[in-house]
Symmetry: C2
Subunit: 209 residues, 2 copies
């Protein structure tokens, strides 16, 4: 049975899941959901994800949604294949979970709003941009300190705590928000490292931009 | 060694962690962080949580922050004690993770903004309230369908996927947002069920309100 990712090229959350599958060397089929045709709001897709958002995921009988839940499933189900994306030691895993939560609660909230503004999905005057650039800067200050002492957010090795950042970082590096990453040497080195991983390069090779 | 929670009575995120500890029957000490005295921004606290927010957590040598990372640690470390807060079967756990992500990505983002508006922490005119009430309503529509088929979000038993909702729900039930929960019979029954759990009643007995 083939693993299936229902999403589309250009979707940050779809990219997040694809990156985890490439890291684990798991073959999968990308089933394109045609957003222009409103396919994601039709009953067939809503049965896969009641929120009507990509990606949805299928692995045999297992049907999931929410990109970060899918990556955790992939990391656990295919443990022993490809890159280990979760720490084996329970205490190290607890620390990894802290940084996965930081991504979710802090980094994603700031960086996604800036992404939406850059995509003209939400109206954002200079004040809103400044407010969210300040939020992102505060997060990156903490990352700079963390990455001064650890090569990756969870510790010595690349994990889901890093991987979850990739799509938003990749997008924002093409905008003026790039300067916030560039201004912090350890953050800059971390960005260069994680965005040059073969799995991510493979995801990006599908991107039309 | 005593488990320590650094936070304060009245903090939603502190309550989230305390609820998990009471569910697991784990003794702990609540070390009050004096926000008025700016204690959370001093070096001693920043060493526990570089974001300067409560709660922080200590269990022997293990030092953590981010409430949802702490609850996951507590659930795993004290497996076999008190309420099982995580599903044992890997596929059921994957489904639980989906609903924990839904809480984090969808429910918390909508409900926390409404909480902040109600607390007068952010300026919120009627349009902002309407925008976030619409977002929360859309989430609760999905919950209503889910809870029609399952007693709890992850399935047959109460888990962290439900527990993580408690503080925000508890606060919003004292505001006019309450009507959004009350209007949906299965959501209403779920709210009544989870807010009457002995562990949550114990957390609330500390609340001055």
């Amino acid at each position: 049975m083939t693993v299936k990712v229902y999403g589309f090229v250009g979707s940050n959350a779809t990219y997040r899941v694809m990156a985890s599958l490439y890291e684990k060397n798991v073959d999968f089929e990308l089933v394109t959901v045609n957003m222009a045709a409103w396919e994601h709001k039709r009953p067939r897709f809503l049965a896969r994800n009641p929120f009507g958002q990509v990606p949805a995921f299928e692995d045999g009988d297992v049907s999931l949604f929410e990109s970060r839940a899918i990556t955790q499933y992939v990391a656990r189900k295919y443990a022993g294949k490809g890159t280990e994306l979760i720490m084996k030691d329970p205490i190290q895993m607890a620390i990894q979970t802290v940084w996965m939560e930081v991504e979710n609660q802090k980094f994603d909230r700031a960086s996604w709003k800036l992404t939406e503004i850059a995509m003209h999905r939400v109206r954002g005057g200079p004040e809103l941009v400044a407010e969210y650039e300040k939020k992102l800067s505060d997060v990156l200050d903490v990352y700079e300190a963390r990455l001064t002492e650890n090569k990756y957010l969870a510790g010595d090795s690349f994990t889901l705590a890093d991987l979850h950042h990739l799509p938003n970082i990749n997008f924002l590096m093409e905008t003026r928000v790039r300067r916030l990453f560039e201004a912090r040497p350890h953050v800059r080195a971390w960005v260069a490292d994680i965005t040059s991983r073969p799995a991510w390069v493979k995801v990006m090779s599908l991107s039309p931009w």
